[in-house]
């Protein structure tokens, strides 16, 4: 039987409950919510004057009612040390989501740690140090002292290359402007750490270098553009599942306004199905291209559109570079960049070639070109929003592919204008404010590979779980386990030693090939199993936190509850590390170096915000953001008038492009020809294995999966991560629904549960990225592009059965995920 909560009534929010602004911290969309809290022994009533809604709650509420909340939106949490009731429900008046909650965000309350209801007891509450063969709880001072002493032994003022750092760069979750600044100030200002990486990839680099090098920031539109456009062009994206309320609240109204949809994806997703329902199948074109051939498609479209003359010549003349090559191809630039004509020459691809490479009909490419670019009968611009995400970001030839897409938007003048934009859809929210990272270099160091090859002595990890989010993961885990174990064994051998003796023992183990691992996170992660020191952090809502969403909409989440135990915001943990490093360095007589660690006397996350974000954006304060509520303000903020922050609805409305930093403010085209599967080893892997192991996220298993592994509702739906596979392929492999399979290839193996999927093409499977029990990264080879962008998507392997369906899946539904009206 399916999981049921057996809850048949909920406490009513009283009229005088405290109400806090909340932006959902799970995905990029950043839906508006409110958190209501009230004392544990109080409750509201059904009478209109006795509850927060002013509504008679003894009556059944209608669809889309404000005055209802699900059990998942309720919990009992601590606030200023007291138990309080908590309801977090969607905000009807927020322009982002208009009251919609998704299967993720609408469980925010349920996924808060609670001693009373027992939820999220996996959350870390106290620092822990590896002692006596296990992790022992201890104080912040004790843990940070050890971190500082060991770290100080491997860094000096001239060379910090033995300190490896993995740190998130995002907003929402436990990121945000406060925390990227705290960590950024420590590693990029007090130190100049160059061996670092970001939470979901093995280097510290942009995922969208080419669009930036072309002058175009990747979040240039506003969500309203989907409602104003003629065509929605989706590439490598599945917004119904991954940007849910952007799809439901903006793309769907756009389709109902008559927008057509072009979808580029080897897989038929639920997004494609929903688009057919909303726009009508005739107005949806799904180009199910061969995996990894997006660039060939874009270059064919670009060529065809240019040949037809469907370009915006005035825009090209006024706003783009005119004279051939502006930036030659080199080690930092996997493609030359320059004028429209230069790009046109380099990218030229015929319909015949494009159709053959992509495995789609020429007529469909022509149709896509018409929907994207053909001017209307009166000669006016066809408005088109292009939206892309991991399908190409983590796909073949990242630089040229994204550049090839941006070419089309540039050529047709669809940037900076109503109903236009060429944007990534995003994963987490953004919230990046750090000192320059120029010293990291480009290409950035391939951190995970350096670790495999024995480099790095101390590793600080901030909310990264390499074990689930790296490529070549089998090798990485093997080496990381081995190297951290060297240190653990040395620590175990000196149980009872003084601090100085213990530091000596650790440093000795490091010199013998070990690595000392410090893990800052909200839960005990998989890579955290290797840690020597574990430091507990808090999440959004357990601290005040600012971020911006996929249309650059910045909001302040107001703290509405306490974090677990003595967990702290990352920015304050970073400040603590800095203070301890300063002290230890001074003790060691390294005064000049110690001085670099001054300037962290922050008492709160707001202090960190003022020290960082506010220093670059003096108009923006907590108080002003609070007043802007859940609609916030779209960055960049350009002023403060009539008690309101003044933002920017769209970028580049003046046709001046500056993301590349060029004085002339002219956009560049990307002259990147198709060159097949670019990353090392991909072509051979493809020819040597039977199945494409496409991978990504699902509606229910997404940004908050680390919490959801402790959530009964989610675990009940998918006790094991699924592998979508064609039923005929299943029959050939002797598989029944729910059977466990092993996916194996030249670099490793992993497992998943077979989910029969008739819409999956033969030989093309889809599995979940980042699954705790079945890491897809195990079978992704080490190949990256020139700028060390991972190529997670193009992976091939063989499949064999390893087990009949386990008892844990016997209750599960294996029906189609596609809505049907019957």
């Amino acid at each position: 039987m399916a999981y049921k909560r057996q809850i048949d009534r909920l406490p009513i929010i009283p009229a005088d409950a405290k109400k806090h602004n909340v932006t959902c911290h799970y995905c990029i969309v950043g839906c508006g919510y409110h958190a209501y809290t009230w004392p544990i022994k109080k409750q509201g009533g059904t009478g209109a004057d006795a509850n927060a809604f002013g509504v008679d709650l003894s009556e059944q509420q209608g669809a889309d009612a404000e005055a209802w909340y699900a059990p998942s939106m309720y919990n009992v949490v601590k606030q200023d040390g007291e138990d309080v009731h908590l309801v977090i429900k969607p905000d009807q008046n927020c322009v982002v989501n208009s009251g919609l909650g998704s299967i993720r965000g609408a469980r925010m309350a349920e996924n808060r740690p609670s001693e009373v209801t027992g939820s999220q007891q996996q959350r870390l509450g106290e620092p822990m140090v590896w002692r006596y063969g296990t992790w022992q709880p201890t104080s912040w001072d004790d843990a940070l002292d050890l971190v500082a002493r060991v770290t100080a032994r491997v860094i000096d003022q001239e060379n910090e290359d033995d300190l490896f750092v993995s740190m998130f760069d995002h907003g929402g979750s436990a990121g945000g402007y406060e925390n990227t600044w705290g960590t950024g100030k420590l590693y990029f200002e007090s130190m100049k750490v160059k061996n670092c990486r970001i939470h979901n990839r093995p280097a510290y680099n942009s995922e969208v270098h080419s669009t930036r090098d072309m002058g175009i920031g990747e979040l240039n539109y506003c969500y309203e553009d989907y409602q104003l456009t003629d065509t929605i062009f989706l590439i490598g994206a599945n917004p119904l599942e991954c940007q849910t309320n952007l799809f439901l609240n903006h793309m769907v109204p756009g389709m109902r306004n008559g927008a057509k949809v072009v979808i580029v994806d080897p897989r038929r997703t639920v997004t494609a199905n929903a688009c057919e329902i909303e726009a009508g199948a005739d107005n949806v074109l799904h180009l199910a291209i061969e995996s990894g051939t997006d660039l060939a498609l874009f270059n064919t479209l670009f060529t065809y559109i240019a040949d037809q003359g469907w370009v915006d010549q005035d825009f090209i003349s006024a706003s783009t570079f005119q004279d051939g090559v502006a930036q030659p191809q080199n080690e930092q630039h996997p493609s030359a960049l320059g004028s429209f004509e230069a790009a046109r020459d380099a990218c030229r691809m015929s319909l015949t070639d494009g159709a053959a490479i992509c495995g789609v009909a020429e007529a469909d490419i022509i149709k896509a070109a018409e929907w994207i670019a053909k001017p209307k009968d009166d000669g006016s611009r066809r408005k088109c929003v292009s939206a892309y995400e991991k399908g190409i970001i983590w796909g073949n030839d990242n630089y040229r592919t994204i550049g090839g897409l941006v070419n089309i938007a540039l050529a047709t003048g669809n940037i900076g204008r109503e109903g236009g934009g060429v944007c990534r859809l995003g994963g987490h929210q953004e919230g990046y404010f750090r000192p320059s990272d120029a010293h990291v270099g480009r290409p950035a160091p391939y951190l995970d590979d350096l670790i495999i090859r024995g480099q790095g002595k101390v590793h600080h990890i901030w909310a990264n779980d390499h074990f689930k989010t790296t490529l070549n993961a089998v090798a990485f885990k093997r080496e990381y386990n081995r190297r951290t174990n060297i240190v653990k064994e040395a620590m175990d051998a000196r149980a009872g030693a003084t601090r100085d003796e213990m530091v000596d023992a650790i440093v000795g183990a490091i010199e013998a090939g070990g690595i000392f691992s410090v893990n800052v996170d909200i839960i005990h992660t998989q890579i955290g199993q290797c840690a020597h020191v574990i430091l507990p952090a808090v999440e959004s809502g357990e601290m005040n936190l600012t971020s911006m969403n996929g249309e650059r909409r910045m909001r302040l989440v107001e703290k509405y509850m306490d974090g677990p135990g003595s967990a702290m915001p990352d920015c304050l943990i970073a400040a603590g590390m800095a203070r301890h490093l300063e002290r230890v360095l001074r003790e060691e007589g390294r005064d000049a170096y110690a001085d670099q660690f001054k300037g962290y006397d922050w008492a709160s996350e707001e202090d960190a915000f003022m020290d960082g974000y506010n220093s670059g954006n003096p108009e923006v304060t907590y108080e002003r953001l609070r007043a802007m509520g859940n609609d916030g303000v779209q960055e960049p903020v350009v002023g403060y008038e009539n008690d309101k922050l003044v933002g920017t609805k769209r970028l580049y409305v003046d046709g001046k492009f500056d993301r590349h930093g060029r004085e002339d403010k002219k956009a560049l085209f990307c002259a990147g020809a198709w060159r097949g599967l670019q990353a090392a080893g991909k072509a051979a892997q493809k020819s040597g294995h039977a199945f494409l192991i496409n991978n990504g996220r699902s509606n229910i298993n997404w940004q908050n999966w680390f919490l959801d592994k402790d959530n009964d509702f989610v675990s009940d739906r998918y006790p094991y991560p699924f592998l979508e596979i064609n039923p005929e392929d299943m029959a050939e492999l002797g598989l029944k629904e729910g059977d466990l399979v092993e996916i194996y290839n030249d670099v490793g193996a992993t497992q998943a549960m077979a989910y029969p999927t008739p819409t999956a093409r033969r030989g093309e499977t889809f599995m979940l990225f980042g699954a705790p029990t079945g890491t897809q990264g195990n079978v992704i080879n080490a190949g990256v592009n020139e700028l060390v962008l991972p190529n997670y998507k193009q992976t091939w392997a063989n499949i064999r059965k390893i087990s009949d369906a386990p008892a844990a899946v016997s209750h599960m539904s294996f029906k189609s995920k596609e809505y049907s009206s019957g």
Binding site: A2, Q60, G822
Partner: protein, 173 residues
């Protein structure tokens, strides 16, 4: 299930903003007395035991419209034709579910072809053969299912619900 089909159609056109589900019943304001003689309350909600239909009224794979626990809470009884976990009746194949989507309260429609309840609001779907498990969707709970009892005459009674019904903070208003 003509009722559901029609409502599904309406739902798709988004005509349902508020008031789609008829409301009734007098408001029962709760005012706590200032000096307490605490009112004793049962720990569990008292559900009515309502006769919804007789087995003879059910045809296999054709949902029968019912309401439970009151007229403002539409649902169905469904004879699946093969025993399922949680099924009742002589063949263990009769189940009952709310048909108000637990996401935002749109009316669900039954697709007899693959035996799912589908929501025109935001495409959620639920599997009555798996206890109302959400196959895919935006609701944060599985579909509320009735606790059913069948007596010797074949009369089918509902006596409880296993999840909070959409649109009410108490299943019994």
């Amino acid at each position: 299930m003509s009722r559901c089909r029609k409502m599904a159609d309406i739902g798709r056109r988004q005509f349902l903003r508020g008031g789609a589900i008829a409301t009734s019943g007098a408001a029962a304001a709760v005012v706590a007395p200032s000096r307490a003689k605490a009112a004793p309350a049962a720990a569990l909600l008292e559900y009515p035991s309502n006769r919804l239909a007789n087995i003879a009224d059910l045809a296999t794979n054709e949902p029968l419209d019912v309401s439970y626990p009151d007229d403002d809470a539409p649902g169905v009884l469904l004879k699946l034709g093969q025993a399922v976990e949680g099924g009742t009746g002589p063949d263990g194949d009769i189940v009952g579910f709310s048909t108000v989507c637990p996401h935002k309260g749109y009316p669900l429609a039954y697709d007899a072809a693959d035996r799912t309840f589908n929501c025109p609001g935001h495409y959620s779907r639920f599997d009555p053969e798996a206890g109302g498990q959400q196959v895919w969707g935006q609701a944060t709970q599985n579909l509320p299912q009735y606790t059913l009892r069948v007596d010797d005459n074949g009369d089918i009674y509902a006596e409880g619900v296993d999840e909070l019904l959409y649109g009410r903070l108490s299943n019994v208003l």
